[in-house]
């Protein structure tokens, strides 16, 4: 009996000690919820690169891939919140409502939702990247490099993010070359290499000699390489897939933001924020400019990049008209973030209608 008491006393001491140590040296654990597989080499892949940066900074991370934007998302979020994660990044627009719903149930867990606008609880932050700034650069290059004055654009789904990209690209291209036409083809997929290749081929057959894309796979730049036309990389540097065709890429760089936010959680300085970072903050990165571009174009692009970063130049500076000729942004004004976030009309010069 005596032995039993000593034993249980010692073991409870040990147990208590372990718990105390664990509580003091409490590791911050971050979780990531992905819409696609990490092997898509596009959107999710780049988020996972960001997650690895968090891991490299000394934090523990978990991720769940291929989570549908439905009730399943709520289940996954609840599970992650329950299993001791301190901060959860939800990396797709459709997680907006599930994130806010679960955030209410777990006030001690921080939630970070990508590309959304709802922050219903103090433990929910949102973040997004100003990819349209990158597209301003691509448009400038495309408008200068095209000889046929037909630029092809493979689009995914008619949402503000994509429309904004098309508009910013076209405005920039028109600025350097008023004669260009942007032909848009909707692939209705984020990544299906076969379909993207077919869309790009159709555009090239119809005379496009520069192809831009807002879908994720590398199929389009490969097709461009074969056909001897120019293209731009999406989400990551795609130069090695098509060294001759790719003039530059717009890279999604989430790592610094993720490390920052996880560190804030660890320091206890985390607070609700709405982040929309562009080239200036390094969330949007322009890859190396290809040497096929004339030197003066390269220096022009470099300058544009610096001006976009400093805020001296804005992608949407008036006067901007829509397709019917109505004024969208007055001369000397720039589009505000509210207008950008809900942009669902084409600017003048874009051909065709937005699919409804």
């Amino acid at each position: 009996m005596h032995k039993f008491f000593i034993r249980s006393f010692v073991s409870s001491l040990v147990l208590l000690f372990t718990f105390t140590v664990a509580a003091i040296a409490k590791d911050v654990k971050a979780a990531f919820v992905y819409i696609g597989p990490t092997g898509d080499h596009g959107w999710t892949y780049q988020h996972d690169v960001g997650r690895k940066a968090v891991e490299a900074a000394g934090f523990k991370t978990t991720y769940v891939e291929g989570v549908p934007e439905s009730a399943d998302a709520e289940r996954v979020l609840r599970q992650l919140a329950n299993s001791g994660h301190d901060v959860i990044f939800t990396t797709s627009f459709g997680y907006m409502n599930p994130t806010n719903k679960v955030a209410k149930e777990f006030p001690n867990v921080k939630f970070e939702h990508a590309t959304g606008y709802k922050r219903e609880h103090p433990n929910v932050s949102t973040y997004a990247a100003r990819f349209y700034e990158g597209r301003t650069i691509l448009g400038t290059i495309a408008g200068t490099m095209t000889k046929s004055n037909v630029i092809g654009y493979v689009a995914s789904f008619p949402i503000p993010e994509v429309i904004r990209g098309i508009n910013s690209f076209t405005l920039a291209a028109q600025k350097v070359n008023p004669n260009i036409k942007t032909k848009i083809v909707w692939a209705f997929t984020w990544y299906d290499p076969g379909k993207e290749a077919e869309a790009a081929k159709a555009l090239i057959d119809q005379g496009a000699d520069v192809i831009a894309q807002h879908t994720d796979s590398t199929a389009i730049v490969q097709i461009a390489e074969k056909a001897g036309v120019y293209a731009f990389g999406q989400a990551s540097d795609m130069d090695k897939f098509a060294p001759k065709a790719v003039l530059t890429s717009v890279e999604n760089n989430w790592g610094p933001y993720y490390v920052d936010r996880v560190k804030a959680v660890a320091n206890g300085t985390w607070s609700q924020k709405d982040t929309w970072h562009g080239i200036g903050d390094g969330m949007v990165v322009i890859s190396d400019l290809d040497s096929q571009m004339p030197a003066d174009l390269r220096s022009k692009v470099k300058k544009l990049q610096a001006d976009l970063a400093s805020g001296k130049v804005h992608s949407f500076t008036g006067p901007i008209y829509d397709q019917k000729g109505n004024l969208m942004v007055a001369e000397g004004k720039t589009a505000d973030d509210g207008m950008l976030a809900g942009m669902m009309t084409y600017v003048k010069g874009v051909e065709g209608d937005i699919p409804k």
Partner: protein, 310 residues
């Protein structure tokens, strides 16, 4: 848009290129189904072929090893299906679905290390002859060996089923396994062989996607083409020539709808996107109206398990 004759030739060539994986997988599945086995695992076998081909090409650097390796991988994974459905007599539908889920999962696992690696250029034949004949030049020349094989396959398959003894045996097994068995035909062996052949063709179809059509690996890159191949087999009423027609219509409309978008035809894009599916079904239903012929070519024991002792 410039309508010149070479432009039309180019469009037809790209339609044919997009039809290749459908033709390969459908013709393979057709043989499997004619022997009375319904294998819904085409998508899974294709994706296994895609990753195997791409991985072997990257690791060994040999295109020949990669192509045959992809076919072998299709054979291996279909062996699982064959063992389960023929030896353990499991349900065809459930096993086939499981095979697809398994294939997608395992390909993603193997593929983790192959994401973001550019593929190799696949050699094409008769490139120099492309500009010699207007219209036909780009259609006939400058394609990979798999392309030519795919367009010969429906005719070979048709000949095989109609004119050869083994083809007759396959059909007999599919129509009446009991009678075939009484004639001394080893039903299980024939079905095993047909399943493995279907696996090889699906594997080749996948390898075409990851090595020739869009030389890269990303997860789920088959994008549902396996299911379309399956549908083609049924809607073509198990006729290889109609598979060829169906695959061409499907590939053709997918590409033409992109052209229509680029020209700026004012038809709702969603409708254009749905067009390939709708029209392919309508055309195949219309050309296969003859119910007597359908009854003749439908394998009567399709999807039914066969026990030798009943």
């Amino acid at each position: 848009m410039i309508i010149d004759i070479n432009f039309i030739g180019l469009i037809i060539a790209s339609i044919m290129a997009s039809a290749v994986p459908l033709i390969l997988a459908s013709c393979g599945e057709l043989i499997t189904e004619r022997s009375g086995v319904l294998n819904l695992g085409v998508e899974g076998m294709m994706i296994i072929g895609a990753i195997s081909g791409f991985a072997l090409m990257t690791v060994t650097g040999s295109l020949i090893i990669a192509i045959f390796g992809a076919m072998l991988a299709g054979v291996l994974i279909s062996t699982i299906f064959a063992f389960l459905t023929q030896t353990l007599i499991t349900n065809h539908v459930a096993t086939g679905l499981a095979l697809t889920i398994f294939g997608i999962g395992i390909s993603a696992m193997i593929g983790k290390n192959f994401v973001g690696i550019p593929g190799k250029e696949f050699p094409v034949l008769f490139e120099g002859l492309k500009d010699t004949i207007p219209l036909l030049g780009p259609i006939l020349f400058g394609h990979s060996i798999v392309f030519y094989f795919a367009f010969a396959l429906p005719f070979i398959t048709s000949y095989f089923l109609k004119k050869t003894k083994i083809g007759l045996i396959v059909r007999a097994v599919g129509d009446s396994p009991g009678s075939a068995s009484n004639q001394g035909i080893n039903v299980r062996l024939v079905r095993y062989a047909c399943i493995l052949y279907g696996g090889a063709m699906s594997g080749l179809a996948g390898a075409y996607l990851s090595m020739i059509y869009t030389p890269q690996w990303i997860e789920n890159m088959t994008g549902g083409r396996g299911w379309i191949a399956l549908a083609l087999v049924v809607f073509s009423t198990w006729n290889p020539i109609k598979i060829l027609i169906g695959a061409m219509i499907f590939g053709g409309l997918t590409i033409i709808q992109f052209h229509m978008q680029a020209i700026g035809v004012r038809i709702p894009v969603q409708f254009l996107t749905a067009l390939p599916y709708i029209v392919t079904i309508i055309v195949l239903v219309v050309i296969s109206r003859d119910s007597r012929k359908i009854r003749l070519s439908t394998p009567s024991s399709l999807g039914k398990s066969f026990h030798k002792d009943n």
